[in-house]
């Protein structure tokens, strides 16, 4: 298939409504040439996964500040597997303790960006992840 601009979904799962970080990331990605679907706040993992399928995104980026990241991200990766879409990458950002990161990686989260991560380093990581995914397909 001919490659067009890469599509990314940015959203927030669970009940926290602080979307400044998510909106900032949307702008950074847009300016880097991505087509970003922004779903807004307070969505369930199922809503995020169904949206990602319809939008045919390469990557889902979820912002979590609530502390419920382990449970919610697990639900997202499980649902993706259930829907035969485990090839869609999932990354997370927000207030996530460093000690939780290995566990999140083990459940299939490709990268975790904690507060203070420079936007360029996020872009570099995403480009590498998406590049590797395209090669695999």
């Amino acid at each position: 298939m001919k490659q067009g601009p890469v599509r990314i979904l940015i959203g927030k799962v669970g009940l926290d409504g602080h979307d400044r970080g998510a909106k900032y990331i949307v702008h950074v990605l847009r300016d880097a040439g991505y087509e970003v679907i922004y779903t807004g706040i307070r969505h369930s993992p199922k809503e995020i996964v169904e949206t990602a399928l319809q939008e045919d995104v390469a990557l889902i980026g979820l912002s979590l500040l609530s502390g419920a990241h382990k449970l919610l991200l697990k639900q997202v990766t499980d649902l993706l597997k259930e829907r035969g879409a485990a090839d869609i990458l999932v990354v997370a950002g927000g207030s996530i303790p460093a000690s939780d990161i290995p566990g999140l990686k083990a459940m299939g989260i490709s990268a975790v960006f904690t507060p203070g991560t420079p936007s360029q380093s996020i872009l570099d990581t995403l480009a590498a992840l998406i590049g590797a995914r395209q090669q695999a397909i």
Partner: protein, 331 residues
């Protein structure tokens, strides 16, 4: 999942479990390679197609996305087993090619409804805001069993006329607070509406805008035959006037169904034409690449060795193989 369009079409038709992904993939294929669409459509003569394709346009911020959300809710309540598709177009950046696709945010309450398929699309530099790919999207949603398709355009106002080529019925939404009656008299947007929606009816100035719009439309219709567009006052926010709008769609559909079917059959001609134009545009842009212009050709203009008109003709000859003047004579 496969990337072969023919195989994807088969999956949409036959594999319930993979249908959503196959539809989405097929749309990506169309979007990335629109000039190859006729290839796909060769086999599409027997595809099911939607009963109604509604285009929704209007200036940014007038409430199009929320109106789409409310239309889906109301239509799904009336049609518990019906399937509805939405194409929501937002602008691409002409500088970075990136896009912030935010229409869908207003429609998230339907995210888990298996009978609603929503797809955001970036305009990817096409002037009217509607890319060739939208036609393909409409066909694919038809194949996926959608009876009704709603297309929400970018909403850059006065250029948004391409939608009339794709939709059976065009709805133009406006809202109070953006200029006076002079805006309603301008060309473009105000000419494409089969139905006008004055949204945000809950706000100050809506009744006045409604009255102005009615008088403008009556003025335009004077001495002409044909239908005067319907005008509806709607408050998408408060869900007022939405069911009435759907009733109006149905009335229009019942009155014009034969005509719509006829138009659809002739769309294949437009599709081929647009694919050819798209490919030509691509090749011409390739031939007059920015860097080449900036160097030698541009220097020649600065040195006075060639006029701008002369250079245009030169480039034209390079691409088309004949002089611009010759083409005009033949044309």
């Amino acid at each position: 999942m496969t990337e072969d369009p023919k195989e994807l079409v088969r999956l949409v038709r036959e594999d319930r479990n993979q249908r959503v992904r196959a539809v989405a993939r097929l749309m990506t294929w169309i979007e990335n390679d629109p000039e190859r669409m006729p290839e796909l459509l060769v086999g599409a003569a027997d595809w099911p197609s939607a009963r109604m394709v509604i285009g929704l346009t209007g200036p940014p911020g007038c409430g199009k996305s929320l109106l789409v959300d409310r239309l889906i809710t109301a239509w799904r309540a009336q049609n518990p087993v019906g399937r509805i598709g939405v194409i929501a177009v937002d602008a691409s950046s002409p500088f970075t090619r990136g896009a912030f696709l935010g229409d869908r945010l207003r429609m998230m309450s339907h995210a888990t409804d298996a009978n609603v398929f929503i797809r955001s699309a970036a305009s990817r530099g096409h002037i009217g805001g509607l890319m060739l790919g939208v036609r393909g999207f409409v066909r694919v949603l038809g194949l996926a069993g959608c009876q009704v398709i709603l297309i929400e355009t970018v909403g850059v106002g006065q250029n948004e006329t391409e939608i009339t080529d794709v939709a059976d019925l065009v709805v133009v939404a406006i809202d109070p607070g953006h200029g006076d009656v002079i805006q309603l008299l301008k060309s473009g947007l105000m000419e494409v509406g089969d139905i006008f929606v004055v949204n945000k009816a809950d706000r100050e100035g809506a009744a006045q805008l409604h009255a102005q719009l009615l008088s403008v439309l009556r003025l335009k219709a004077q001495g002409k035959t044909g239908r005067i567009p319907d005008v509806c006052l709607v408050s998408a926010l408060h869900r007022r006037g939405v069911v009435e709008l759907i009733d109006l769609f149905e009335k229009r559909a019942a009155a014009a169904e034969g005509e719509w079917q006829f138009r659809r059959r002739h769309m294949i001609f437009d599709e081929v034409k647009e694919a050819v134009l798209e490919e030509s545009r691509r090749r011409i842009l390739q031939a007059v690449g920015r860097e080449q212009m900036a160097t030698e050709d541009f220097q020649r203009i600065l040195r006075g060795e060639v006029t701008v008109a002369g250079l245009v003709d030169e480039i034209f000859q390079r691409v088309i193989g004949t002089s611009i003047h010759k083409v005009e004579h033949h044309g």
